[in-house]
């Protein structure tokens, strides 16, 4: 190799990676190469297998392999038979289960038997000797590398890529800018309006009745007895333009506590109605529905990340990763005694976002 290199003293190669280690071995870092280390003893003598020595065993192994292949054929044919013999009866889940079970087992038999057979064949009957292949360094030979460098040198010389810097630099600029239109194209993944106002408003408004989820029937204050929990959606949700999107913001949990148990802060005195309170069901952490209401402790638990909110303390966070209390929906009753909202939520519901307070 060294001769090859010396024979072609090409100035363009000097200083390139071809030179890096020359014909010396690459550095070993801090590895210790002991002079008296134990020498590799070489290969162990081959231990013949039973099948190598005894033709009867070899014959038996052969039969075993072909038997496995035969079992595989049976399995695959059985799968077709099962497909026809065990149809799905519409509405009968037992028939689906049976179809799934028998079809799967037959196909699995067809696959496993052929697999086990092939592996057994290779282990017991094919040549069992270890074989050796020499490795060569991953890097190309110096001659090859010199050729590769020459290709690039020629390319550079013939195109003038390195020399004509104006062309080169403008080309790089053009390539860098070329993906920009693609970024712009993604703008219309969503409608043109600003999402922030949407996130700050829900279907709730003054006078909107609280209705049961999913039936949409209005709820009388008298129906919400002590210890009850009602899952609530705003009236007219189904008729709205985007029911699921609205529900994802407007879902509310209504509970009734003894008024004495509630700690009401200033400004929220008229947000509950005789101990009936309504809180957003959407967790202020990442938005799971918080609906696990414990009647005795008055705690709400989010099943996704275990944030806990104390309803008696206006849904303050008492455990878990959430920071903000669940927003409270101010409620009252209308002339017919149905629960209605006094207004929309006074803050955005659900997970925090950058523009929440902006």
């Amino acid at each position: 190799m060294a001769n090859d290199h010396d024979g072609t003293p090409d100035s363009s190669i000097v200083g390139t990676t071809v030179e890096k280690y020359g014909n010396n071995p690459p550095p070993a870092g801090t590895a210790v190469v002991a002079s008296d280390r134990i020498q590799n003893p070489g290969f162990e003598p081959y231990r013949p297998r039973v099948a190598d020595l005894d033709p009867a065993v070899e014959k038996a192994q052969e039969r075993r392999v072909s038997a496995l292949f035969f079992v595989s054929i049976i399995g695959s044919v059985m799968a077709v038979a099962v497909y026809i013999a065990f149809p799905i009866v519409p509405g009968d889940m037992g028939s689906v289960r049976l179809n799934n079970l028998l079809l799967g087992i037959s196909i699995a038999l067809g696959l496993l038997a052929v697999g086990v057979g092939a592996v057994h064949w290779s282990k017991a009957l094919m040549d069992g000797h270890d074989m050796v292949e020499q490795r060569h360094g991953t890097r190309g030979t110096d001659a090859t590398r010199a050729k590769a460098v020459e290709v690039f040198t020629l390319g550079n010389k013939e195109s003038g890529f390195g020399r004509r810097t104006l062309i080169r630099n403008t080309l790089i600029g053009a390539l860098v800018v070329s993906p920009v239109p693609a970024i712009a194209l993604f703008r219309d993944l969503a409608p043109s309006e600003d999402p922030v106002p949407l996130l700050k408003h829900t279907l709730w408004a003054k006078g909107v009745r609280l209705t049961r989820d999913p039936s949409g029937t209005p709820i009388k204050a008298s129906e919400v007895t002590l210890g009850s929990a009602f899952h609530v959606i705003p009236e007219g949700l189904e008729e709205s333009e985007h029911p699921l999107e609205e529900k994802a913001k407007a879902a509310v949990l209504v509970m009734r506590l003894k008024p004495a148990d509630l700690n009401v802060s200033a400004g929220r005195e008229d947000w509950n109605y005789e101990g009936i309170i309504a809180y957003s069901k959407i967790c202020t952490h990442v938005g799971c529905p918080v609906a696990l209401y414990e009647k005795q402790t008055h705690h709400l638990l989010c099943p996704c990340h275990q944030s806990q909110f104390d309803i008696t303390q206006e849904a303050a966070v008492i455990f878990g990763p959430a920071k903000r209390p669940l927003p409270q929906l101010p409620i009252s009753v209308d002339a017919e005694g149905y629960l209605v909202a006094r207004s929309d939520f006074t803050e955005p519901v659900g997970p925090s976002f950058w523009e929440r307070k902006l």
Partner: protein
């Protein structure tokens, strides 16, 4: 191999089968020069070790995923159009749901083998990611990522990330209650990204959450662009495997300059081919016996309900666990803008953890300064610090993973959720530290044991009374082949700080020397031939 040599004159004497093979080989070679490829790779050698098969498990489960997934696309409708379900599952009759959910139910309950293929697809997906994880652990703990394989480690890492992305997009497609709440969490996390979060969520969902676009969009990612990148990356991964040849464990006759094992044709081909069928068969068997992701019990997605025990598939668990373990109150308002640290911190910690995994080979190479090629896989005990770092990383990951099932741990072991979460928070910090030191000590202990056995042989259990009345246990010496396995590893010394030509010591050198000291300070040297001789003299 016979292709180019088969001439009509010779084939005349051969059997019909051989004549056909010869004709086909000749036909192909004259059009593709395939004989060259066969000559190059046909007798390539593969070393035999059980842990070398784990990557194959991943590859084969991917093929199973491709096959079963194709079947599913024939029936699945990636649409969020509202339909009223009128299929055969009674408890959902008359319920409004998206076409995606309805078509998933139809293909499960009205197509023979449809449920089987769904379950094959989902089980194979879980196995795919799990086997990639185990494969990566094998590579890591044996140091098989060292030069020249660092790039292939990176490609493998990319495959791991792609596999998780494929898994998550697939999990979300049926638009059931579980996956919908998963998407809701993703939406909440995206919204927590400072400045651009709101807009990213808005663009991703095509409007407000949940919108009517997300399933269609995830579907295209799931069946088109992600698999395309995956297949390409697998191709490069395999190509580099062939170029670099497989590593092997130390053994008699095995050196850094050879590969000892079985040739592709025929032994390895038979084994690997058989193994593909076995993997396919095992997945099929699991799918026929064990239910997975029963979307019909979850019901269609609706933003109001949620199920107790809402968890993602296992490979996303570590991210969910990180969210659960955040201490309370981490949210700030700066100049009116809301900064959700309770989301930002997991969003930063996890990529940092993953980046450390991805770039570990380069970090270790920098510390050791070793630029040689390594083709002999280390036994984990012979690289105690590396193994200890790995154990710490595994513990960190495992605690996050366990935290994602905090509620189930609580109900099944009669604990309180609060207790489980607090324990996990503590374990997340001290668990890796304990794991690091314990593992390192175990490795050094095992090395000492190896050294003892190499020097003095192993205890035979035979007690002999000497003429003087003394009792001794006879130690049996190892044969040289057995001993070689115990002594053939490399020792590294910590890097000493040396001034450069100008007599200065650069900061780079200081840091590197400190790292090297930490890495190699505690070590056991391999037994040398002199030591063996002197120990013989003792007996």
């Amino acid at each position: 191999m016979t292709t180019t040599e088969d001439r009509p004159a010779v084939t005349a004497q051969k059997s019909r089968g051989a004549r056909f093979t010869g004709w086909a080989g000749n036909y192909l070679d004259e059009r593709t020069s395939i004989s060259g490829l066969t000559k190059e790779v046909g007798r390539k050698i593969f070393p035999d070790h059980w842990s070398f098969m784990l990557g194959e498990v991943a590859l084969y489960s991917f093929i199973v995923i491709l096959l079963s997934g194709t079947f599913l696309t024939f029936f699945f409708q990636a649409s969020m159009v509202e339909v009223v379900y009128q299929g055969s599952y009674v408890p959902l009759k008359g319920i409004e749901m998206s076409a995606a959910m309805a078509s998933t139910l139809d293909l499960s309950f009205d197509i023979r083998g449809g449920l089987l293929m769904r379950q094959v697809h989902h089980w194979a997906a879980l196995l795919f990611v799990a086997s990639i994880g185990l494969h990566m652990l094998r590579i890591y703990f044996t140091g098989a990522y060292r030069k020249p394989r660092e790039i292939n480690w990176l490609i493998g890492f990319v495959l791991f990330i792609l596999a998780m992305a494929e898994g998550f997009t697939g999990y979300s497609l049926p638009d059931d209650l579980l996956s919908g709440n998963g998407l809701r969490i993703i939406d909440g996390m995206v919204k927590g990204i400072p400045v651009i979060g709101t807009w990213i969520s808005y663009l991703l969902f095509g409007g407000e959450f949940p919108g009517t676009d997300i399933v269609g969009r995830l579907y295209v990612l799931h069946i088109l662009i992600l698999p395309a990148i995956l297949v390409a990356a697998i191709g490069v991964h395999m190509l580099l495997l062939i170029i670099n040849k497989h590593t092997q464990f130390a053994g008699p006759g095995r050196t850094n300059d050879n590969v000892v094992g079985v040739p592709i044709m025929p032994v390895f081909a038979a084994k690997a081919g058989g193994f593909f069928f076995i993997i396919f068969g095992v997945i099929m068997l699991i799918a026929s016996l064990f239910q997975i992701n029963p979307v019909w019990t979850y019901g269609p997605y609706d933003p109001s309900p949620v199920s107790a025990g809402t968890q993602p598939d296992w490979y996303i668990g570590f991210a969910d666990g990180a969210l659960r373990l955040m201490p309370p109150g981490l949210e700030l308002e700066i100049f009116g803008a809301t900064l959700s640290l309770n989301i930002m911190i997991p969003l930063l910690i996890l990529p940092i953890f993953l980046a450390l995994v991805a770039f570990y080979p380069f970090i270790e190479a920098w510390i050791t300064g070793d630029k040689r090629e390594h083709h002999i896989a280390d036994r984990p005990r012979n690289a105690p610090t590396r193994t200890a770092i790995g154990a710490a990383g595994v513990t960190f990951y495992a605690v996050l993973w366990a935290a994602a099932s905090s509620d189930l741990l609580a109900t099944h072991f009669r604990l309180s959720i609060e207790g489980v979460i607090h324990s996990c928070q503590v374990l997340l910090i001290i668990g890796p530290i304990i794991a690091y030191f314990v593992t390192k000590r175990i490795c050094l202990g095992l090395q000492k044991k190896d050294r003892e056995i190499a020097l003095h042989g192993f205890e035979s259990g035979r007690i002999v009374r000497l003429p003087g009345g003394e009792y001794i246990e006879v130690h049996e010496q190892l044969d040289e082949y057995e001993r070689w396995k115990l002594v053939s590893f490399e020792e590294y010394q910590p890097l000493t700080v040396l001034p450069d030509a100008q007599g200065r010591i650069s900061l780079n050198q200081r840091v590197r020397s400190a790292a090297s000291n930490w890495f190699f300070e505690d070590r056991i040297s391999p037994v040398t031939s002199k030591q063996i001789e002197s120990s013989r003299d003792d007996h």
